[in-house]
Chain length 364, copies 4
């Protein structure tokens, strides 16, 4: 089994391979009555799609979406929304040398062990290209949540050793990340990050980074305590993005060095709203939202596809061998991960909003 | 809804409150034929239970387990294993001043918003005491996994600013953590940690820390790629522990600063086993195990119950007010979190082992 | 796996054996704020419990319930409701001759094949006694649904060849079934049924029957079309009762002989309510409720435990052998099935009411 | 929510409307290594598709399948199998008069209440056309089960008042149903049935019938006792087919009139196989298979779309009104239901085979 469905009520099931006929998603459980157009989905696909700048892979895919069902007279009708994207620019011959020769840093060996085969053409369903499905589900949930004043914003705070430590308001972040290829909130730092990525690209190397996600407009008390905590489900959704190796909320790992008096966020009354003066908790206590912005950080590993000769083991004759990775790859996937991270969070939040009765399950 | 069940096939459902009649768990989906005694569960409860040293809460609970069903002639019989622990030493009067006055750093306000009530007696189901249920589920899964050579070991690597950076083998770690109250692998550092905790306790303060978890003996290819990745499910299980604010796997957040060439773990042949020379990935690629040890770290926040006067808001008259927390609390919960983290991982791994066909769902 | 949980949001997990320590259920997902007392559950257990008349088994169990968690100040608090019943009158020695000798009409052989063991003491978890768990879940859901004006009523319409064809209003049915041991709506027919059961009991034989279930007060449009239709889920819930061999809704199997013009229920306006003049559909169209009463019938097989010598096969030496069933058994379980059928329907309806947004998931 | 997924491990998610762009299904959880071609799916779609004889609707759809993913080098690869069928011959103008005027016997009113809209073009997702999705899922599961010697055969035993009471072997049934349009096991009776259907068609009327399903080759002990019994899950799967109003297993409703001695199937030894001399239980005891053929019957209601003027209520002005149904409809859907019933059973059995460890979840 490959567990291609996420969500309990707002359910997204995805399918498709890097070099197959098409990729797509079925969104089941979106309430009826939501205005939704192909363009709503296309906009998110365009943010994610490759070939838009020098720092992404050269694979040229328009990623044009077709909606097959679920929209009636311009609105969702309560039935499953099916949407697909056909592959156009696959070049499978690039991958012939990888048959039976698993790549370091990729899941090839694991896929092969689990299913008795692995798709050496671009990694099959282990490819980052499958996040087209995530992006479709994310686009629908984003539109749904916008109706309730909830937005999710992901921005790059670190690439290799270049960090953005300058603080911006949420509105500034939302505006600035559209003005640079790295999706960094600081335009100066963005340039340094882009230069760093291009430098590594020229060396046939790659790098990782850190992405921060801010979910704003959440109601108080969202989340299912004990085993489906809101931070538990977000951690899962984010860790499920292929390249993510760490997730933290609020002060995160820094909490280890704090005392209780330092960590606690003081409760106070702001008009008739109960708020906290600080937000070390990152907007979550006891697995439920506090009404403060929910703030997460994820660690994104460097793209494993780097140039140069690699040692590996041939699975057929079980002998050491060497491979050289060709194909077209991103030297740093952080900028594109922002769209996928937003999608992952939006799907999770939409599901929880319905589960907790904040959004009616059938019609809005 | 409160989502008190974890697992898809190996399912654990927990119940009970800090100051209610009893707490417990139903383990459904454990295969028949596993030798299991009350002592197997009691051993884990004893590791977790309070009142065993100066650095835990003074609440004195024996946490005696009673098994109500699921064992036939000394072995599991394939039907649900129900086990309960009765509360004995609750002192609810300690909490009267907290009625309608939510505490900083606790989920009181969130529970109240969600359910229209919150249990001011020891936090109700928001209390750490509910991890008795986790521990029962963990004990059964630990016994099951032991049959397949899989062990999970959690040890404390940091308390406040005191870090254990000395390296030990897994066997040394397993041995050493039983020899000190902090469950640290280094006996010297353990003493410093214990002193630090006692110092903070005397100040009526608390602190956080970091726990590392090592899962050993896993087969290659365990995990469900896409939405139920093994690292995704472990991240969720760990983040679902109340005090955890961050989860990382392998090099974790450090990966942001690495290049692809540094991060990739080289594949090689060791006899007839395919291994990797390093384990930066922490034993997971593409959401599946690589056969190398699975290594996670979690950030544990300081106990929010600290002495001194706190500002808060009274929910009845919606006016600012002040409270002082009494009751008995742990100055640092990291040592006790190790048992719960092991339980969370063991339940998750047991579930995945059955889901992926490594363990037969009905009988071993 | 034994799948001991029912429901998607209103979830009931049951455990326990015929001759074990205790049986019980965890009800997770009941909204907070529902008044609930032990007596609410005890009343349903008393309806179901054996030893109350000559036509039930002589096993004398008080079936006293103890609630372990989930109630705070007289109301549900949103956390799991755990309730148990301890076995008191088990006599396991009655069953020693059944070790390795599966009984006809029972699941002994199937349990043994699936789990590698079967509990020859009263059938273990294959016993009808496990419906104590159903009854606990049913009692909570019954109380919840009563708040929304929904009632479920099961009455016996046939025992062996004695049928009740007289029509009564729902209120008359509700009143009359409490006045006789068979739970038949017609008091005269009830006597004949009781005589028939006693006659078969004296012969050491048993018989089956038919139970009709009427669910009243349902809103229009309840049910999840396609794969979780309300009639699909009710059919499953009822067929899951051990002795049930058939389920029909509305005219049921008679629909085979009707034309479309005969079968269709004409839509008309009654004040400002849309109703249908007939109810051949039994209150369900397209898998959703029509607002008319939902009417089901179930076929209940004769108790397989009858006196006299039976042929079987000894599983140890795989040779033909003979057994004689002792123990205490119901000559006809239809009267007691009514409580379990009501419970099964109430749990299913409660779950659907929350899933469809008619009941808030967290608080009422 | 519309619950468009069936199955726990072998999961089928369907989508699409009667008059939308396309219909289809995602099959997730089929093990890798199964030979599967588009023709395997096309064969089942061809059995189900309309326009193939005088007794089906005149809507002319080729129902050509396109597989989008999940097949690698001629075999399933463990990733989701996505398959679609595009609508070609929709004539939406036939349905304009039905806008706001719900039809008797259809779910129009229920859909409208639930989702705030209903698709008056051919019933939208309430149409029988959506069973294209079931058929795709059924085709994949049929191919999978064939590898394990399991076959499912549905044949028509009654149409209106014409019954087939002649007995045939399973092989004869399999052969004969392909030789007539009604899919009846007796070729003489088939002719009478076909004449009866044509007669009703000429009158603009319709009728119901009964379909028997025989599942052969099942292992002993398949099913999850308590809440996912094999008969419970099959009852649900079959009742979820739009027109089904009753399900029975083995002797079904007749069991009400039997005594325990008559009903019990005697256990005996046939070589080294344990069998029962009769099969009144229909192959299921205690919710698990006995190893005998599993035999079910379903009641299929008459098509509600009949000619002539119907009374209804206009939903916009809430006034009585009249409609006349045009469009193209089946005078009796029993023959086409056989394919859908087989699909429903095959999907359910495939899921249970994997859940119980009879089929490996990842690779065959």
């Amino acid at each position: 089994m490959a567990a291609n469905t996420t969500g309990e009520i707002f359910k997204v099931t995805t399918f498709g391979l890097s070099h197959g006929v098409a990729l797509g998603a079925i969104v089941d459980g979106c309430p009826a009555g939501l205005e939704l157009s192909p363009q709503d989905i296309q906009d998110e696909l365009d943010k994610r799609r490759p070939g838009t700048s020098k720092i992404t892979t050269a694979r040229n895919e328009k990623d044009q979406v077709e909606i097959l069902s679920g929209i009636f007279e311009g609105k969702t009708d309560g039935t499953p929304i099916a949407a697909i994207v056909r592959n156009k620019d696959q070049r499978s011959k690039n991958y012939d040398n990888l048959r039976d020769n698993p790549r370091a840093g990729h899941g090839d060996l694991c896929w092969n062990q689990k299913f008795g085969n692995y798709n050496y053409n671009g990694g099959g369903r282990g490819s980052g290209r499958i996040t087209i499905g995530h992006t479709i589900g994310g686009a629908v949930s984003k539109k749904l949540l916008a109706n309730y004043g909830i937005t999710t914003t992901a921005h790059v705070t670190q690439i290799h050793n270049i960090k953005n430590t300058n603080k911006y308001t949420l509105n500034e972040i939302k505006a600035n990340i559209t003005k640079n290829n790295v999706r960094c909130a600081d335009l100066e730092v963005a340039k340094q990050m882009e230069d760093e990525i291009l430098k590594l690209k020229q060396e046939g190397n790659s790098t990782g980074g850190i992405v921060e996600i801010i979910i704003d407009g959440l109601p108080l008390g969202l989340g299912q305590p004990v085993f489906d905590k809101i931070d538990g489900d977000l951690a899962k959704a984010l860790m499920n993005i292929g390249a993510v190796k760490g997730v933290e909320i609020g002060v995160g790992f820094e909490c280890a060095t704090l005392t209780g008096r330092q960590m606690n966020d003081e409760i106070y009354l702001d008009g008739d709203m109960i708020k906290t003066r600080t937000n070390n908790a990152g907007g979550v206590l006891g697995g439920m939202t506090t009404g403060m912005p929910l703030i997460l950080k994820i660690a994104v590993k460097p793209t494993p596809s780097v140039s140069g000769i690699q040692n590996t083991v041939n699975l057929k004759d079980m002998q050491p061998t060497q491979i050289e990775i060709e194909g077209r790859h991103d030297p740093c996937i952080c900028p594109r991960v922002t769209t996928v991270a937003e999608a992952a969070c939006n799907m999770t939040i939409a599901d929880h909003m319905i589960r907790a009765g904040f959004i009616h399950p059938d019609k809005i």
